[in-house]
């Protein structure tokens, strides 16, 4: 489904953020991208989600080489992914419903369908009773769940989460991870970056990065199992 071949990414005036990355991610896989800060985890996720383009190499997704994608086509590709960020990136001048409906407005979904799908997504993350509430009044865990609702509302085939539990205590973090596991169970590809490998009840693949290079994890979990 997603294939990286000899991918390098260098930001102007900096060292290589990613070096010679070769990975394959199949449909419906649960993938953890692990590594310390500055290892290149976020860069890898940005390349997958077409937020950034590689400096060299190819990234193939649905027979498209993302490296050669034109800028005008990038927004349409991004709609295929559900993105979740560590800092949630919620809009605090809109209520929960309005935050979640945004991807559907971007996708030109009709208002009746949108309302139904937003409520289903909020229900899935346990926030249906807070649709009129401003995100600012939600707890950290609830805000992250709201961000997940926004990511899943457009029914993406891939969920990409950049350190989604980084700012949460263990109870909330487990709650969030359980939501991801439930999506993987229904065939959604889930790619999650985190500092340390969480305890997963289901089979997963680990991509471990150090200084922008693919590395064998210290805890001897096989690379790209």
């Amino acid at each position: 489904m997603i294939s990286f071949s000899n991918v390098f990414k260098r930001y102007p005036g900096e060292m290589d953020a990613l070096q010679d990355i070769n990975i394959e991610i199949s449909t419906g896989e649960l993938v953890f991208v692990t590594g310390p800060s500055g290892a290149g985890k976020s860069t890898l996720l940005k390349l997958i989600s077409a937020i950034e383009k590689p400096t060299s190499g190819s990234i193939i997704f649905e027979n498209l080489n993302l490296a050669e994608l034109k800028n005008k086509d990038m927004p349409f590709l991004r709609r295929k992914f559900g993105m979740i960020f560590q800092d949630h990136k919620l809009l605090y001048d809109r209520n929960c419903f309005e935050n979640v409906v945004l991807p559907l407005e971007i996708n030109d979904i009709n208002p009746t369908d949108s309302a139904r799908r937003v409520r289903a997504a909020l229900n899935k993350v346990g926030l249906l009773n807070k649709e009129k509430v401003s995100p600012i009044s939600l707890s950290g865990g609830e805000q992250q769940r709201l961000a997940i609702a926004r990511a899943i509302v457009s029914r993406p085939s891939i969920l990409i989460a950049d350190e989604p539990t980084g700012n949460l205590d263990k109870g909330y973090a487990d709650e969030i991870m359980n939501i991801f596991y439930s999506f993987q169970q229904v065939g959604v590809t889930v790619i999650v970056s985190c500092h340390e490998l969480p305890i997963s009840p289901i089979k997963f693949k680990q991509i471990h990065l150090i200084n922008g290079k693919l590395t064998q994890p210290e805890d001897n979990v096989p690379l790209l199992t």
Partner: protein, 303 residues
């Protein structure tokens, strides 16, 4: 199609919400746009009125030939036949001094005693309409008439209308130039306001981009904001112009007895007001599109 229109409606509502959330500065923006558009529009209103008056008053040049008081009937007949033979003359009207005097008295509702005149002070006169507006031909005719025995004075009545039309034309050019400059000023003001708004909504823009929004989707609420600024500004302009016309006409009515005539300022036609509205909306739309596009490009580069 319906979701697309719904999307535009949503963007329009967002534009309205943004205006409402900064209602103070939005009202100031309406007034700034309104006054800026009012300056050339008011000038146009006045010029149009003057132009219409000049059109009604006269289309042709006229010459008044005043004859000497002691002129004989033979001399008058000679002048009359000379005028009839001139190719530049379209129409001749002779006004005997007695008739002119009666007309003047009737118009002013005066008697001889009122003005203290013991005899008719007016001369006999020929009033001729020319079939040319050429200065060379008119001056040639005047020169030939001046030397005719019995002619006292010649007044060209039509030359002022030519001058007035030339002045109106020059004022119109001036107004168009002023209008052009003010349009540039408006574009700068609206662009700057929209640019500041893009900074306020920076987070929303970035999030929208991350989840797949196209630039046109992001531009839309800003463009509707600009459009509403233009619409609001044009309504202020129209209100000022209407108030100007009403105030002027009321004042003119009060002075009717002094002026002896009613001078009314004719309001602009609906088509002109429609043009003002659409022009202002277009200026707002263009300025906001330009500003939003530039700001979003900068935001993309800085992130």
């Amino acid at each position: 199609m319906f979701p697309y229109l719904h999307n535009h409606f949503q963007a329009f509502i967002r534009g309205l919400i943004r205006i409402k959330s900064n209602i103070g500065s939005s009202i100031i923006m309406f007034i700034v746009i309104g006054i800026s558009l009012c300056l050339p529009s008011a000038g146009y209103l006045i010029v149009e009125n003057v132009r219409q008056i000049s059109t009604k008053v006269q289309h042709e040049a006229e010459i008044s030939i005043f004859l000497k008081k002691d002129i004989t009937q033979e001399q008058i007949s000679f002048i009359d036949s000379a005028l009839k033979n001139s190719s530049e003359i379209k129409k001749i009207h002779f006004e005997p001094k007695l008739l002119a005097w009666e007309k003047l008295q009737a118009k002013l509702k005066l008697t001889t005693l009122d003005i203290g005149a013991s005899e008719n002070p007016l001369p006999d006169g020929f009033f001729i309409t020319l079939n040319t507006l050429s200065n060379v031909k008119i001056n040639g005719l005047i020169d030939s008439l001046k030397v005719v025995d019995g002619v006292d004075n010649i007044v060209v009545d039509g030359s002022w209308i030519k001058k007035l039309r030339a002045i109106i034309f020059m004022i119109k050019i001036g107004l168009f130039s002023l209008g052009g400059l003010l349009v540039i000023v408006l574009i700068v003001i609206i662009s700057n306001t929209i640019r500041l708004q893009t900074l306020t909504f920076q987070e929303e823009i970035l999030v929208s981009k991350l989840i797949g929004a196209t630039n046109s989707f992001i531009h839309r609420p800003f463009m509707y904001t600009g459009l509403i600024y233009g619409l609001g500004g044009s309504l202020v302009t129209i209100s000022i112009l209407k108030a100007m016309v009403i105030t002027f006409n009321r004042a003119a009515e009060r002075f009717e007895y002094i002026l002896g005539n009613t001078i009314t300022l004719k309001d602009l036609p609906v088509t002109d007001y429609t043009i003002i509205i659409f022009a202002a909306m277009f200026i707002g739309l263009f300025a906001s599109f330009f500003a939003a596009r530039q700001s979003i490009k900068k935001l993309e580069k800085s992130n």
